[in-house]
């Protein structure tokens, strides 16, 4: 018998299931609740969920500004706390300088003004000196520097204490107040103590007859009187530290192109891929080897089982 004959005879063979088996299967099929095929299987859900998650992550990365840009934006948009005073600069009245003329007090004022441009700074310096002079004061020091469109000046002005309020008021009109500080130190108590000390020493001097002792007491009294006079002179003038400056140059913001977000996303994806590769590759290799080994063993066992 040829192979073709064998095949032909085998193909003609008809095998039909017995009636009892057919009936059993029919009963089974009749019990089928005929639930329609689930349209949303977990695999299909995964196929949809993964791109959606990736899209959301991508959108998040693309729409979120980087920290660098955010900081710059904050710097550009959010001016210093005194920016409200800049807007209402003229309305911002200078601080009141409390001063009792009868007492000896050291008055110090720090005034920072914002000037619109570099030329304005130069003009304001001249005007500040004029104001000081007109109030019987003088400029102790003037430092002015210009750098391109920005300029700044630091002036130390000495104004008679009686005119300090007027001076501050007039100086504050040169620009917009950005900072102001007034300090008043009362020296009257110290002076009174010094006066009492001098009076005591003078009494002691009148009662002393020794030449050396008289000379020492006289020297001490003169020293105290000098320091007292020095203090009174210092207290006569109030010190005004005036700072004039143009607004700081706006920080250069980096204008990213429309594809910058894509680049950032790709960079993070690349980093993630490297990590995944470094960690996942050895694990994947081990898993693959295990899978191959299990498959080989199972096939060998199956062949042995069916080889009988």
């Amino acid at each position: 018998m040829s192979p073709r004959d064998v095949l032909a005879e085998l193909r003609e063979a008809q095998v039909a299931a017995p009636a009892d088996v057919r009936e059993r299967v029919r009963l089974l099929a009749a019990a089928d609740p005929t639930t329609p095929a689930r349209r949303f299987t977990w695999k299909r859900s995964l196929v949809v969920a993964l791109p959606v998650a990736a899209a959301i992550a991508g959108a998040f990365v693309l729409t979120r500004p980087s920290h660098h840009v955010k900081d710059q934006l904050q710097l550009a948009k959010a001016p210093p706390v005194l920016s409200t005073q800049i807007q209402h600069g003229s309305a911002a009245a200078p601080a009141f300088v409390p001063s009792a003329r009868s007492r000896v007090q050291i008055v110090g004022t720090t005034l920072s003004l914002r000037i619109p441009n570099a030329q304005g700074v130069s003009d304001a310096v001249k005007r500040a000196v004029q104001i000081t002079t007109s109030l019987s004061g003088y400029a102790s020091s003037v430092h002015e520097q210009t750098h391109g469109k920005t300029a700044s000046a630091d002036l130390t002005l000495k104004v008679p204490r009686a005119h300090v309020q007027q001076a501050v008021s007039r100086l504050s009109q040169l620009g917009t107040i950005t900072a102001e500080q007034v300090s008043v130190t009362d020296k009257q108590a110290g002076l009174n103590a010094t006066d009492r000390e001098i009076a005591r020493l003078q009494k002691q001097l009148a009662a002393t007859t020794g030449t050396k002792q008289r000379a020492a007491l006289t020297s001490h009294i003169q020293s105290l009187q000098r320091s007292e006079a020095q203090l009174r002179r210092a207290a006569h003038y109030a010190t005004i530290h005036l700072t004039l400056a143009t607004p700081p140059a706006p920080a250069k913001t980096r204008h990213h192109g429309p594809l910058h977000g894509v680049g950032v996303a790709l960079r993070w994806l690349g980093i993630g891929a490297v990590y995944a590769l470094a960690i996942g590759l050895p694990v994947a290799i081990v898993l693959a080897l295990c899978w191959f080994a299990i498959r080989l063993i199972r096939r060998r066992r199956e062949e042995a089982l069916l080889g009988r």
């Binding site: 040829s2 192979p3 064998v6 085998l10 193909r11 063979a13 039909a16 299931a17 299967v25 096939r299």
Partner: protein, 158 residues
Amino acid sequence: MTFAQAAEAHLDDVYGYLAWFTSDRFAAEELTGVTFERALRLWHRFDPERGSARTWLCQVARTVALDHFRSERRRTRREQLAAPLEAVDFRFAEGLSPDLEAALARLTAGEREVVALRVLLDLDATGASRILGISPTNCTTRLNRALKKLEEALNVAA
């Protein structure tokens, strides 16, 4: 396609496959019932895009048959110690010559399986290899080897 339609259409195929695979009518009848019970439970997993219902049912039937072979092997080992099993007279199909029946009986279960799939059920190499879990080339090699054994057995009988 509903389960009832698939069962009606492929009951004979599944039974024939199991009958030739096991060469045991009673076992084939029992395993056919078990196969369709299991298929009913797993019917929601059946995806027509991945293969025909017949292929899928044969895959289920093969799993059931392998479980049967394993339990049979364990049972045989135990019982052969007490009393050797007697050979059961089995006819593979109507219309086969006694020599071919005898030759088929001499084949191993694995060889009968590939003959059943490729010749009796007339599956192509791809479909049969999917059920067997091997490559199509390997499937064809197995079939040729089985047919050669059949031919040799028939020549000896002649």
